[in-house]
Amino acid sequence: MGKQYQTEKTGQPMNDMDALIIGEHSFHSRLLVGSGKYRDLEQTRSAIIGSGAEIVTVAIRRTNIGQNSNEPNLLSVIPPGEFTILPNSAGCYLAEDAVRTLRLARELLEGRNLVKLEVLGDAKTLYPNMPETLKAAKILIKDGFEVMAYCSDDPIQARMLEDIGCVAVMPLASLIGSGMGILNPWNIGIIIEQSHVPVIIDAGVGTASDAAIAMELGCDAVLMNSAIAHASDPVRMARAMMNAVIAGRDAFLAGRMPRHHYHGDPSSPTSGLIELNEQ
């Protein structure tokens, strides 16, 4: 969705001009974060606050029978009143299971329809199962969900997801939890160019520059979890990611200088030098 943004010089504050629009929702932050893999709920909250994210993904799992209900609950540290909670269907390998999981999520979140659909292909790579993803997306959209779909970087199937009615397509940069960054920026570029819904990089970001690169390509946002939670200092990395996404977005909007492959171009004038020796 990169192309339609035009940088215009106006007196308006930037944030008003540059909101991230997903379905009916509008956000200031273009960084979405997961809530998994932290040391404890305190660190979870500190990192999420530090990231400046407004949208936070959660997983849906069975309550432990016999669990002490007084135990601190995830949603008490990232309350739905403060954040947009985005339930995912992580762990599901079939459309049907993803649909059931997300229906439970909607019930849990009092009818909120915005969900992250994720149907996996195998437990080893966690690569998306695209046929099941397409099938689940159709069912969920018919059932009133606003579906943000984790997907491969296949431009054709990304367009199918958009045509079905997904409110965002979320291609992987690289495997979930791999931290390898964007392996195929060309495919991501094609998806950005063709899409009319937000394109959000989901999975594979490893460090701040990966997030900046995603935004510079023209992605509308970036979703990450491990890159923050598995950093040595998650709270500092959360802040790094916030700034990297802002930097990458600004660089995209500012329009980078062209690359010159071979010849240096002096930053200082070539005339007006003092009388130099012959060279």
Binding site: V58, R62, L104, L108
Partner: protein, 67 residues
């Protein structure tokens, strides 16, 4: 007593129990949970109406950290 499955484990509950009785028993009252009975969502507003039947398959879920 009825044999039912709750989150994949077999258990026995008294005849006539509603979903709300089960949740109360499990300590889930007031928590942020959702309930599925035999593959169908049980809306929060129906907990006190829906009876548990023999062989019911109940799933009770909550939100946990995930990416």
């Amino acid at each position: 007593m009825n044999n039912i499955r709750v989150n994949g484990e077999s258990c026995k509950v008294p005849g006539g129990w509603r979903v709300s009785d089960l949740l109360l028993d499990l300590g889930h009252i007031g928590g942020r949970i959702a309930v599925e009975r035999n593959g169908e969502i049980v809306p929060r507003s129906d907990y006190e109406q829906v009876s548990l039947q023999a062989n019911d398959n109940i799933e009770i879920v909550s939100a946990i950290g995930g990416g």
